[in-house]
């Protein structure tokens, strides 16, 4: 399940909400802590006051009991209970002092000078726990936090939109030269705009040079093939050689025309037409067109196929022939320049999981870096010799819903480039007729 992209507003609001939530939790914690510790402090203070009052009360009661005014002592006990807001003040026998254990709200102390006879038990009212939690302050605090959060997020959205998002939106236009970066933009955005503009220019240059090289390369390959056929015919004017020359011309001239027409109209688009032909034939055409070069370079080409029958695969035979031609040519050039004693290219065809895999392994110098992402870069990295450009080959392959992958050849020690194409027309690749944009 793909996730839908979130807007910047979402992140701004979320960041403010998180901050607000932290503030709320902090306020709440402070509120509860202050209230609780306030309660504890009040309870302790109440207990201290109780003990002090207990002493005062006991002494006063003692003064009456000593002069045998027990009824007055009782009245005084009641009065103190009222004056000090106590739950009760009781004169109890002395034994009660031993039995009772003092708590925070109860205290029993002996009556001074009559310890053997009387004690006074004083019970205070419990300190109200909830009185120490000032809800008004909490609500005020929460309200303030909410207000700040809303205001902050609104201001930030406005500010970021004006100073960051809008400039970023215009980066597309600035990178293509439609618009210039404004001085009022943040410095970082201006730098990015400049970098993008330069990158766009570099990319254009690379693409154009790639295309030019590719075009020249393709033309050169075809012309070389025609040159060889002409040379053979001139060398020995036999019917067979003239027929070969005618065939080569017939095959290559339309291709040349196609390439030149594409280059002349300045298009960076390659039309892909699905002819659903035998892929083996396309490959063979490619090998044939490059055969002279392999012979010249003394590179042996072997073909290994696990497929016995014709394999009709949905593909544009002309464009894929270009791809195969250039991959094989690169392999020949790499092998011919290598120090390896065995100059070998193995081309293998397999069917695996409804994918036709055409692998071209060589005993050449191999690729510097087999990182697939490197292949994608438009910069003119010197890959596997010069050539059409692996990028264009990759784009043509990918437009066929295929894959171009690179690895080291375990067999021959050089590079192994694999072209994988769907062997069947399915819902996935039914729109094979398409345009590849370079």
């Amino acid at each position: 399940m793909t996730k839908t992209a979130k807007t910047l507003n979402h992140f701004i609001i979320k960041s403010w909400l998180i901050t607000g939530l932290i503030a709320v939790l902090t306020s709440l914690s402070l509120f509860l802590s202050v209230g609780y510790f306030g309660y504890l402090k009040s309870a302790d203070k109440a207990n201290e006051t109780l003990k002090i009052n207990a002493t005062t009360i006991a002494r006063r009661i003692s003064a009456e009991l000593l002069i045998k005014k027990n009824d007055v002592a009782e009245s005084i006990a009641l009065k103190f209970a009222k004056d000090y807001n106590l739950k009760s003040v009781e004169i109890v026998p002395a034994e009660a002092n031993i039995q009772k254990s003092n708590s925070k709200t109860d205290v029993t102390i002996p009556v001074p000078y009559l310890e053997n006879q009387y004690s006074v038990t004083i019970k205070a009212n419990e300190v109200n726990f909830f009185e120490h939690f000032n809800l008004k302050i909490l609500l005020t605090s929460l309200f303030s936090i909410s207000l700040l959060t809303l205001l902050g997020s609104w201001i930030q959205m406005k500010y970021i939109y004006r100073n960051i998002i809008n400039p970023i939106k215009e980066l597309v236009a600035t990178s293509t030269g439609e618009k210039a970066a404004k001085i009022t933009w943040p410095k970082e955005v201006q730098d990015i705009s400049n970098q993008l503009t330069q990158s766009f220019k570099d990319r254009e240059q690379v693409i154009y040079s790639q295309i030019a090289r590719g075009v020249i390369h393709d033309i050169k390959t075809l012309l070389q093939s025609m040159q060889v056929a002409s040379d053979l015919a001139i060398e020995k004017e036999t019917e067979a050689r003239y027929k070969n020359l005618a065939n080569v011309n017939r095959t290559n001239l339309p291709k040349l025309l196609e390439i030149i027409n594409t280059a002349l109209d300045g298009s960076r688009e390659i039309q892909i037409y699905n002819n659903s032909t035998d892929i083996n034939q396309t490959l063979q055409n490619s090998i044939e067109s490059i055969k002279f070069l392999s012979e010249q370079s003394l590179v042996k080409i072997e073909i290994e196929s696990s497929l016995n029958t014709q394999n009709v695969v949905p593909h544009d035979s002309i464009q894929m022939e270009r791809v195969f031609t250039n991959l094989i040519k690169n392999a020949i050039e790499s092998t011919s320049t290598s120090n390896s004693t065995s100059k070998h290219i193995i081309i293998s065809i397999n069917l695996l999981n409804n994918m036709i895999q055409i692998s071209i392994e060589d005993s050449g110098t191999g690729l510097r870096d087999y990182n697939q992402n490197q292949i994608r870069m438009l910069k003119s990295t010197k890959l596997h010799g010069s050539g059409l450009g692996l990028t264009i080959s990759r784009k043509i392959t990918e437009s066929h819903y295929g894959l171009l992958s690179f690895e080291k050849s375990q067999l021959l020690g050089g590079a192994k480039i694999t072209v994988s194409l769907p062997s069947l027309l399915t819902n996935h690749n039914e729109n094979l007729n398409s345009v590849v944009t370079l």
Binding site: R59, R60, A63, E64, L66, I67, V72, L78, K79
Partner: protein, 388 residues
């Protein structure tokens, strides 16, 4: 306070230069004097700081006056009075016991005070083996103590009887005389006085409606409002201390009730007792009883008093309260005892006191009637009563 004390002390010193007739003349021969340690104990009310400050000045002045006036006599008898004053918090009665205990431990020959009966009773428990004299305690329980513990005051019974008679004579025009009692349970003397009054009242046709008892100094009287308003008693008995009594009268006056208020010597004296910034009190009519007349009359009854009266300046500045007179009389009695028996030790003094103290520490003043008029307590007359 220090400044006032200094002024009064200088007056006393000038009075001490007067020749004495009762007490021996100065001896030119220096003798080795036996120190006699006397502890003067009294309670101060911390909540009523103004009243306490005034009382303290009066109290200390009286003691100093007594010391100065008896000094030479004591020297001639071979004694020197060493006084220590202990003023404690009136709200903590137990201090009376503790301070008395301390005084006994410090080998005091005699303890003077406190005034209040319940405090004095506690003090006698704390220093049960030391002679003591209260300057004003008057409850029945005080009179029931052994001969080591005496009081200079008239008994509550005498004062209550005199008050009942006086009240009857004031209201004799009324066919039926009824009264309501409001009594402080904190005050032993007040309860005792009220009981004696009720007993006498029942014999002379003064009819008691009801009684309300309370504790503390600011009682809530709401529950008796309707009773009093309905019953309209001819008089209300409030035998309590001054501050409490004034508070009660204030409240009842505010109910619009017109009646006569009567009380005991706990009402105190004019300046210190009733002037508490209350406009209601100026309209109150009252009647109180004391064991002392005003000083200008009371000083005539004993030698030291007469000595003061000979010095007009000193006489004019001498406190008019019963406390002051009582202190002077107590110190005169002590001096006489020491000179008569010449005890060489505290124990000897104690046994003499036990045997004969009652003959020396006697109230010479009978019972005096005072009126409460316009917020002031004003002397009316002295009545003759038999000493009890």
């Amino acid at each position: 306070m220090t400044f006032q004390l200094a002024i009064l002390t200088s007056l006393v010193l000038s009075a001490s230069c007067l020749p004495t007739t009762v007490f021996a003349e100065a001896s030119t021969v220096s003798k080795k004097l036996m120190p006699v340690s006397i502890t003067f104990m009294e309670a101060l009310a911390p909540k009523d700081t103004t009243s306490s400050e005034r009382f303290q000045i009066e109290y200390e002045f009286s003691i100093q006056t007594g010391k100065d006036l008896t000094k030479q006599t004591l020297i001639n008898c071979g004694y020197e009075l060493i006084d220590s004053k202990v003023l404690y918090d009136a709200s903590d009665n137990l201090q009376a016991l503790e301070q008395a205990k301390k005084a006994e431990k410090n080998n005091a020959w005699m303890i003077v005070g406190p005034r209040r009966s319940n405090h004095y009773l506690l003090a006698t428990q704390g220093a049960s083996n030391t002679p003591s004299v209260s300057i004003m305690a008057s409850s029945k329980e005080v009179y029931e103590l052994n001969s080591l513990h005496l009081t200079m005051a008239q008994s509550n019974e005498n004062m209550a009887n005199a008050l009942a008679d006086e009240t009857k004579s004031r209201l004799k025009k009324n066919k039926s005389i009824t009264y309501f009692s409001i009594i402080s349970k904190d005050c032993v003397s007040c309860i005792d006085f009220a009981k004696s009054f009720d007993l006498k009242a029942s014999k002379i046709n003064l009819n008691k409606i009801s009684e309300f008892s309370f504790t503390g100094e600011q009682p809530n009287l709401d529950e008796i409002k309707n009773t009093i308003q309905k019953a309209k008693p001819q008089f209300i008995l409030i035998p309590n201390y001054s501050v409490v009594s004034a508070h009660i009268m204030n409240i009842i006056q505010s109910w619009g009730i017109s009646t006569l208020y009567i009380g005991s010597d706990g009402w105190g004296d004019s300046k210190y007792g009733f002037v508490h910034n209350s406009p209601q009190l100026s309209k109150v009519n009252g009647l109180t009883i004391k064991g002392f007349p005003p000083a200008n009359k009371g000083l005539e009854y004993f030698d030291l008093g007469k000595q003061i009266l000979k010095n007009p300046t000193l006489a004019a500045n001498f406190p008019i309260s019963g406390t002051a007179q009582s202190i002077l009389k107590t110190m005169e009695a002590l001096t006489q005892m020491l000179c008569d028996f010449k005890p060489k030790t505290k124990d000897e003094f104690t046994s003499r006191f036990k045997a004969s103290g009652k003959k020396y520490f006697i109230n010479p003043w009978s019972v005096s009637v005072f009126n409460l008029v316009n917020g002031e307590i004003v002397f009316d007359k002295t009545l003759k009563v038999s000493r009890k």
